[in-house]
Amino acid sequence: MAATALGRLLLAAFTAMIATTAAILIAGFFSITAEATTLTYSVKANERACFYIWADVPFKKLGFYFAVQSGGSFDIDVEVTDPKGVQLLALERERQGDYIFTANNVGEHSFCFSNDMSTFVEKQIDFEILLEKGLGSDRPLPTEADDQPLGLHAEDRTGQTETSINSLDDTVARLSGSLYRADRMQDHFKTRQSRNYDTVISTETRIFWFSIAESVLIIGMAALQVFAVRTFFSEKRRHFPRV
């Protein structure tokens, strides 16, 4: 029992390490030009929950991050489909993932989480879907009317030299990339912390039930022994051989 818990911890740490490396490798990519929505959703047992995003221009990059925060063995089935029904990603029993797809087709892309493997455990999933903002496209939310295209160079520079603007741009871009990595790291730590918490709680529960079972067994054994000894001195003495 302890070995399984330890094994799970080690596996989680190892997976986290690999995932962190992968995340760092692709970090900074979405540093400037992405709109992201991060949500935490609880997928009930045998539920299939789907979230969609609309790609308006072909060949935009779609970023997808998910991590199972709690529930069972922290795994979930994931399926990503593009508008034409082509499966971009199909994973079974994955704990976390960080992927980038190119949305080749315009339309509705679906990200589905499926909890078929559980009979009653609900899984809490942290996920983030990023869509690269095209150069020159408007900000999507209608309440923030933004007519400025989101290009990479500032439109209004009042009395500043070209070089200083460019270095500011670079600094901001670098900061943005570092922040993205820091954010991802923190997500990994948060996931690890909830898994560790879950392991500790499950260990506590197992110890509790083990000690109860042990007490019951001891009392049962004692009662059995008392009963056995009593039968030696019972009325049916004649069945025992006389020495």
Binding site: T37, L39, V200
Partner: protein
């Protein structure tokens, strides 16, 4: 040439009719189904949700914005299930609430358009933003240069990271 133009404009029309009203993450609700999102919030944190709800119209076979329909947002504090915020809102707009205690909050959204037996499909586009209560609001559009806006965005992200860190620290203390 003329035929091509008609075909393209028709395709564009069809495409526009099925476009979600907002380009962001969206999901579908059947009838009175609700979808809940959990957020771990420290105390005194404002959550602003920007949403748009569209209903499936059988006659035109599209998702349309219906002025009469609306959504209901219910926020409960998780371990006890205490209701912190409940509001019925119009088909699109913003909702805002402040967390009084630190903990896990469940933000549940469901469509009020349909009754118990109605099975209409609703498409909800949602974007949640979490801010500290001390933050000043967004500056009016057009007063900031693009670079300043990006720096402000970086500031917001740093705040978010710090806030999450503070929450994790608190969680670990209890642990």
């Amino acid at each position: 040439m003329a035929i091509n133009v008609t075909r393209w404009s028709f395709a564009l029309l069809v495409l526009l009719s099925i476009l979600p009203s907002v380009f962001g993450l969206y999901f579908y609700l059947e009838g009175a189904e609700q979808k809940c999102f959990t957020e771990e919030l420290p105390s005194q944190t404002i959550v602003i949700g920007e949403y748009a709800a569209e209903e499936w119209n059988e006659d035109t076979k599209q998702f349309v914005k219906n002025k009469d329909s609306g959504i209901e947002v219910v926020v409960e504090e998780m371990p006890e299930g205490k209701r912190v915020f409940s509001q019925k809102l119009a088909a699109s707009g913003k909702f805002k609430f402040t967390s009084s205690e630190s903990g896990t909050h469940a933000i549940c959204i469901f469509s009020t358009a349909s009754g118990w037996f109605d099975n209409s499909k609703t498409r909800i586009t949602l974007d949640l933003a979490i801010r500290d209560i001390g933050d000043d609001g967004d500056a009016p559009e057009g007063t900031l240069s693009e670079l300043a806006m990006r720096v402000r965005d970086l500031n917001d992200r740093v705040d978010e990271i710090r806030r999450e860190q503070a929450y994790l620290r608190e969680h670990e203390k209890e642990f």
